[in-house]
Point group: C2
């Protein structure tokens, strides 16, 4: 049971993800999403132009937060310290809604080839946003790309761990930062 009161926007996202899981992305209409969320179609369209944007909106915001955290990290931060600042910035906006969404989104993606493709493109987009922010700090290309990939892996691993737990006071940031540290440590064992 949810221990928080979602607004219309949050209810729409949760309803959409559940419907995508139950009946597929293509077969799900805006009218069905609105009905399941208990709002009118007009309310849907006040929040999202279409069902595709409902998925993309969160991704754009996440890319921006990760990049902003990197950009605003102290000038003497190493590439991975800057990535850690990006993870902290993005994590700070993730509340109960995001946590509840985690397992549901995972189920929806597992059930749909189309959502798997979008999810893969999302990872590429997040890595590109972080790479660009690192390059703008003067980090040379292969290092920037690699640091960004570690950041995406850390965010995904941290998010998965966090959203599977059930302690309401638990924050995402420590999970993402621990995953980043694990990956950093793993670089010493690549050979």
């Amino acid at each position: 049971m949810a221990r928080w009161q979602p607004g219309a926007r949050e209810r729409l996202v949760l309803a959409a993800v559940d419907l995508f899981t139950e009946q597929g992305y293509d077969a799900t209409t805006v009218a069905q999403i609105a009905e399941r969320a208990g709002v009118t179609k007009s309310t849907f369209f006040r929040h999202f132009p279409d069902k595709r944007e409902l998925l993309v909106a969160g991704q754009d915001a996440l890319s921006r937060l990760l990049a902003d955290g990197i950009t605003e990290a102290p000038a003497d931060a190493t590439p991975l310290q800057a990535v850690a600042a990006g993870l902290e910035r993005a994590s700070s906006t993730m509340g109960p809604m995001n946590r509840e969404l985690g397992p549901r989104l995972k189920a929806a993606v597992a059930a749909s080839a189309e959502l798997q493709e979008r999810d893969a493109l999302k990872s590429v987009g997040l890595a590109a946003a972080m790479t660009d922010a690192l390059v703008a700090r003067g980090v040379p290309d292969p290092v920037a790309h690699l640091a960004a990939e570690l950041g995406v892996l850390a965010f995904k691993r941290g998010y998965a761990e966090w959203s599977e737990g059930d302690d309401a006071d638990d924050d995402l940031a420590p999970h993402a930062l621990a995953a980043l540290e694990d990956l950093r440590a793993a670089t010493a064992s690549l050979g």
Copy 2:
């Protein structure tokens, strides 16, 4: 000008990629691909069940080659040495057809959101195949995942560099292995 004589299968792939670029993936029909390649629709269906499989076929073969090279690397190979063996195995099958395809496929992907999503999923699939092969060798999870990501980045970078050059005697393997070495060296600068 091609300095090699492509067979029907190769002509179909090249024709399809060019048509995807010119008019989009959705708008391209099997009949158009066959006509452009100078073969009948029956010939298309002898090689591929549909236009989607035409794209996926190469990916499955590539995943298998990368994984086989990793599996058969010497028992004392480090994770990155095993990845290098995978890159060499996959590179050894790449001839003039793959080289000619590189820039065309890049143009097709740049022109199509749908192909971007498929291309992103392809990277995820290659990384998963390499991760599984490394885990089967006893490489622990975060190291395996990281080594696989480096392998995918190295393959993509090496392939891009190779397919942009114009020396017919040039092989893919040295480009992919040099990119892997650059990425390995970059791990020392992550901070």
